[in-house]
Symmetry: C2
Subunit: 417 residues, 2 copies
């Protein structure tokens, strides 16, 4: 049974509930499978902000056809919304909100709100007080209207200490403002304080999920997919992953050069090669912990650029403790194996010392690189989430090899090397 | 200047605004710095759900003292809320909501709502219709009340097709229900459908941020910090990171064993060692991409356990393409260097072939391991975000070394080995 057939099998009330709660990608899929007459009915069920998302979800050539299915006033609203970037406050907002005038009495305003509430408005929790030029003067809550004396003027009651967002603000910033002020809706204003619409908090829950997904995908070393994992085309997924994997691979090619530089040492002391994966991966893990924590703290606004020195101090301390822990474990492991199986030859103690010392230095180094790199990326204007974590691992791999073999040259000079 | 002194320097309206928008950790800090008389005033400003968070934020010995500062009815509300796990629906909810009876008329109900709205209730967007045993019968929106005929009965108007959550439901589930239904508030019910309180969407924005942060930190290979990066004690941070770093280190120790197993081959063909970091890191990066994408898709509910076979098919295809891309690049790089610098000796073509073939297999293997492991972890009842990504890297490192050297044994048999 196709999705459309499944949908048609439901009773009308269920259909409407299901349709309104679908993601816009699902709405597009269903609408485009319908004959035009039905498509028109269902498109008109949507609020203008949701209709705009649907129209933007179909190929360019079919957009005009969809817009034509709307009545004129809705078409104007939807076209206006489509002018905004999808991830801006303007792209999130609904133009349907409750408005009152400052010179109305509470009684008049309540009646006016009641009349508007029979139209489809996003929320009647707040009524916005606008002057004749649509400039936002204040806000009054439904609760205030209900509990005030009927003859009080709106202008005397309204809150003028407003939290507003600009129509161009990025949705991630908008979501931070919602977190900070615990509001149900925030007005969106354009040039000269003109009211454009409202963003409601239920849309923000979706935004927060979206932004976290993008950050997580970037931190995992690929581009943000922007589509569900099971839906995205395989070639598109290949492109989103291949670009970064290739960039990291080219970085890792330097490990071959670094190793080549120490080829003579490896030939003389093959035992050194055995610990290469252990050492570079420990540096990588330490770096990945540090960069993940710092990038997330930056995204949440807990850590700002100014804090870089405090972060470095914390990482030096933590890195030394973690390095000591791993170094000691490595030392014990090598000496134990040597005692039991004589695995590492006559200079095992010196080898153990080299590995152990390298672990201390490289775990510290990984933590430092992992915590400083996000600051550098942000300072240079990049999003620190962008593949920072695997990039740190690559950087720490190459430099870690150099540290390891240089330490080996010093510790093993005159014995193995 | 201390934080308390800074706070006292503000005017009373600013103080209240600032205090109510603080995180509960900040509220605790400020309250505990105040003398008792002031502490009492400010504690009473908080809604019961926020007061419960504050009381739970102080050491056990001081909780009773704080509770005593509340009036009896608030104390009862706060104590009841403290019985819930902080991350459950019960721990998030407010017991202050607007209630009406089914046999009221719209006119009576409106007056009743108006009276309740002067008390501090969380939202008057919805009024909940309860019977005499506090059982939830239906919900009626403020908008419905405003636009209905005054003499209509609430029971005739109310919606009975309700979205409710159980008091024990985990906050992550609650947030998914908010995303799905775009509601401003959801009622929380206990045994037998008894209404316990409401969760409002503004608290859910915080929950979504919190849950994403936990997942990101776990995917970066440490425990969730549960405190801001710059605030957490250094020793606590060491413990949260040290445990996982140590677990991964112990896993990586197997790379030394795997390398040891091929020591004779490395001694004969040192050139093989040069590509070890390149090969294992490429497998690790591919695995980390796959596991990140799959874990996030699982968290969002896009991928379920049943989908494992679809995921494997996608990863086989993507892995082969990515492997071919990297393998080809590796081949060209080695042959180019050989042509220019004669770096890799007389059997360079065979070495290039070994590395290139290994890259194809290991990138594919990394993608497969990275995508399947989250399913296994979830099937076994673990949270797949828990250090899965670095664990995949460790697993792919050890197995990747074995694949590489086994392929070398086959390709280089009779020439270098």
């Amino acid at each position: 049974m196709t999705k459309l057939a499944e949908f048609k099998a439901l009773d009308p009330a269920q259909q409407q509930g299901l349709f309104l709660n679908m993601s816009s990608a699902e709405q597009v899929e269903l609408l485009m499978a319908m004959p035009t007459a039905e498509r028109k009915i269902w498109l008109r069920v949507l609020d203008p902000d949701d209709a705009a998302d649907v129209v933007q979800g179909v190929p360019l050539a079919e957009r005009a056809g969809l817009l034509d299915l709307l009545d004129r006033s809705a078409r104007n609203e939807v076209s206006a919304l489509m002018a905004y970037a999808e991830d801006s406050a303007g792209g999130l907002m609904s133009p349907r909100y409750v408005r009152v005038r400052p010179d109305m009495t509470v009684d008049e305003a309540t009646n006016y709100v009641r009349r508007q509430s029979t139209r489809s408005v996003e929320t009647i929790h707040y009524a916005y007080v606008l002057d004749l030029e649509q400039k936002l003067l204040g806000v009054i809550s439904c609760r205030q209207l209900l509990s005030a004396q009927p003859e009080t003027l709106v202008s005397a009651l309204m809150t003028t200490d407003l939290v507003v967002v600009d129509e161009q603000m990025h949705q991630e910033e908008v979501s931070k403002i919602f977190s900070r002020y615990s509001l149900l809706a925030i007005p969106v204003v354009g040039n000269g304080g003109r009211m454009k619409g409202i963003v409601t908090v239920d849309d923000i829950v979706t935004v927060v999920h979206e932004e976290a997904t993008k950050d997580i995908q970037k931190m995992g070393g690929s581009e943000a997919l922007d589509e569900p994992y099971l839906k995205i085309g395989l070639f598109k997924m290949f492109k989103k992953r291949g670009g970064w994997l290739m960039a990291l691979f080219i970085g890792e090619l330097f490990t071959a050069s670094a190793m080549g530089y120490f080829e003579a040492e490896i030939a003389k002391a093959v035992v050194l090669a055995l610990f290469v994966p252990l050492i570079i991966s420990s540096g990588g893990n330490s770096g990945s912990q540090a960069s993940t924590l710092v990038i997330r703290a930056m995204a949440l606004g807990e850590v700002r650029l100014l804090d870089w020195w405090r972060v470095v101090r914390r990482e030096v301390f933590t890195g030394l403790m973690l390095g000591a822990l791993l170094g000691l474990t490595g030392l014990i492991r090598i000496l134990l194996w040597q005692g039991m199986f004589h695995t590492y030859g006559e200079h095992a103690v010196l080898v153990a010392l080299t590995v152990s010392l390298s672990l201390v230095v490289i775990v510290l180094w990984g933590g430092l690189a992992g915590s400083v790199l996000p600051f550098i990326m942000r300072r240079m204007g990049f999003d620190p989430a962008t593949a920072c974590t695997p990039f740190v691992a690559t950087f720490v791999d190459v430099t870690g090899l150099i540290i390891y073999f240089q330490l080996a040259r010093i510790v093993l000079a005159g014995t193995m090397l």
